[in-house]
Amino acid sequence: MIEQLILTVIMTSIPLIFAASGELIAERSGVLNLGVEGMMLMGAVAAFAVAMGTGSPLLGMFAGAFAGALTAGIFAFFTLGLATNQVATGLALTIFGTGLSGLVGAPLVGQAIDGLAQVHLPLLADIPFLGTLLFQHDILAYLAVIMVALCAWVLSATRVGLILRAVGDNHESAHALGYSVLSVRLLAVIFGGMMAGLGGAYLPLVLTPHWAEGMTAGRGWIALALVVFASWRPWRVLGGALVFGGITIMQLAGQARGWTIPSQFLSMLPYLATIIVLVLISRNREFALANSPACLGRIFHAGK
């Protein structure tokens, strides 16, 4: 029972880990992309459609990543190419992605697919308790942790990470040093989209093997809050996502145990928790802003 519960918590947190660490990279480069929800939905619908069409959930996974990246490309075109307001463009991306995924996915409603297979890691999977919890997942779950590690390593220990942070913290200086601010941001945004797409793909490929309109149910927004919660540090995303996964699962566990609280109030928990966490993090300005990219949301363009 407890094993099953923890397992569900981990699985619930995977989409958040993907989406939030992708957004974290984009934000570290100075771009605030509020379109995470839209990119996740595009990833989800593409993954489902391809998995159904080809019968291969693995191809679906790639399709999800690709669709997310492509959707992020639209955002990049407007905010970087045409220097539009990032907040409003991100909203537009969410509205657009929600609509287009619903339109594309309309014929897919009610269909079912085989999800991603579990990959038991040799030896490790046989460890009692821990083996079941950590080493009997699908490939996406392992990838999520690998990507967090990769993000953390790139940000803190590589030249690429240094350039990325320079662009996010002071785009004028980075530009003066000869780095192409817009190219760096373009890559970061596309990476963020790919990760959001993978997070979205996890929903139909693993969590619930069907497609439903707006099936992300606000996860994209929670991922955005997670980035603040993690104060722009990749490993903290992992912890934060597990906390949120736990809160989401709490409502199911509560219902199963016959708590008398109306289910709607339990369903509010993830959203209320997001607000409370945001308050707790933001009230301590120094902590909240220590790793916050100084140029976040500010527009840069090289002109005459």
């Binding site: 909203l91 509205i95 308050v279 009230r283």
Partner: protein
């Protein structure tokens, strides 16, 4: 390489043409998407934008559909002018509906002259209450108002769901999640035009919406508070030097937009539904964001913008019925329209040049948005 050169002056024609061009390009892109998905693009556009307004009563219904959008957008303009990103109008609308519903359902015996005004006040109170939470958290704890206002929308949706399934459910509703019907005094009546009679569902709330847009224009363009809002948005440092309080402006703009959304919730239920149910708004709170931008954050233009976007909403219904498209297709149009409007803003402020390569003399120019 796209290069942007700031314009020295912005010709008026350009200002007017920007939204029109945005709409035209949106239609074009929409047609391409329809064609790609295997629909006849011309037929689809016809069902979307012409069929819903081919009779006079349908045009009246267009105003009815635009009513909540105009009301909400008139409030949102204050937020966006002040650079405060309230995207939770949907939740504020729900709270407005719930509070006004409380008045209508708890005091059905109120005299007719008191009922509607009290419901409006309750609606304003509910919407403001919900909007005060992000305002308080932002000013007190520096919490991001975008995420808080959005999260509260989910909470509000669950709250009304619980209310109509639980404590306020009509025992006679055969298990449906509905409250009692409002008494007649709590319903906004339809307009009887002299010589024509009733036209579609045209109701007095539409008149209220037009008046509200006018009020918003007056406050924003003719009063000191409106000037404060604009200064705090365009040049916060200058505003602080002038002695304007960012805290006050944050509370005020969120309060105004919450109040507007609350009124919209009250009007929507009282004029069109007549009782509370789990779904009282079809994303009006989000759609109004696009209306505000289509109006280029100008309260008077909100009326026209509200009608244009309402047409897309009605078109979605029509396309759903005649072409079997899912309702969300309107979202595609709305998203593209918002993209195009934002891009139009850039073309308005900059001379956009597409050059093969970057000139070595390029130096960075920072644009504060």
């Amino acid at each position: 390489m796209i290069s942007l050169i700031p314009r020295k002056d912005i010709p008026l024609a350009l200002t007017v043409m920007t939204p029109i061009m945005a709409i035209a390009i949106t239609l074009f892109v929409g047609a391409i998407i329809f064609a790609t998905l295997g629909y006849d693009p011309l037929e689809a556009l016809y069902q979307f934008f012409v069929a819903p307004v081919s009779r006079s009563d349908q045009i009246a219904d267009l105003f009815v559909k635009a009513c909540p959008l105009i009301i909400i957008a008139s409030g949102l303009i204050f937020c966006y002018r002040a650079n405060i990103w309230n995207i939770g109008a949907e939740g504020q609308l729900i709270l407005g509906a719930v509070f006004s519903g409380y008045v209508a359902l708890t005091f059905p015996g109120l005299p007719a002259w008191a009922m509607i005004p009290l419901m409006v006040i309750a609606g304003i109170f509910g919407g403001m209450l919900w909007a005060m939470i992000p305002a308080l958290l932002k000013t007190r704890f520096n919490t991001n108002e975008i995420l808080v206002s959005l999260m509260l929308t989910y909470v509000a949706a669950l709250l009304i769901d619980w209310i109509v399934r639980g404590p306020w459910r009509d025992p006679m509703s055969f298990g449906f999640p509905l409250t009692k019907m409002y008494v007649d005094a709590a319903l906004i009546s339809r307009i009887e035009l002299p010589g024509i009679g009733y036209l579609g569902q045209l109701h007095w709330g539409v008149v209220g919406a037009l008046l509200l847009a006018l009020c918003a224009w007056f406050v924003l363009d003719r009063m000191l508070v409106g000037f404060q809002v604009k200064v705090m948005g365009a040049a916060p440092r200058a505003g602080r030097f002038a002695g304007f309080s960012p805290t006050f402006v944050t509370f005020m703009v969120l309060g105004i937009s919450g109040a507007a959304a609350g009124i919209a919730g009250m009007v929507e239920v009282s004029a069109n539904i007549g009782q509370l149910q789990p779904e009282i708004s079809f994303g009006y709170g989000f759609t109004a964001i696009i209306v505000a931008f289509l109006a280029r954050l100008n309260p008077l233009a909100v009326i026209g913008a509200g009608l244009v976007v309402a047409l897309a909403e009605l078109g979605g219904d029509s396309a759903q019925i005649t072409l079997g498209m899912p309702k969300v297709v309107t979202g595609v149009f709305k998203g593209i329209l918002l993209f195009m409007l934002l891009a139009g803003e850039t073309f308005n402020r900059f001379h956009v040049e597409i050059r093969p390569s970057r000139s070595s003399a390029a130096k960075s120019v920072e644009v504060q948005n």
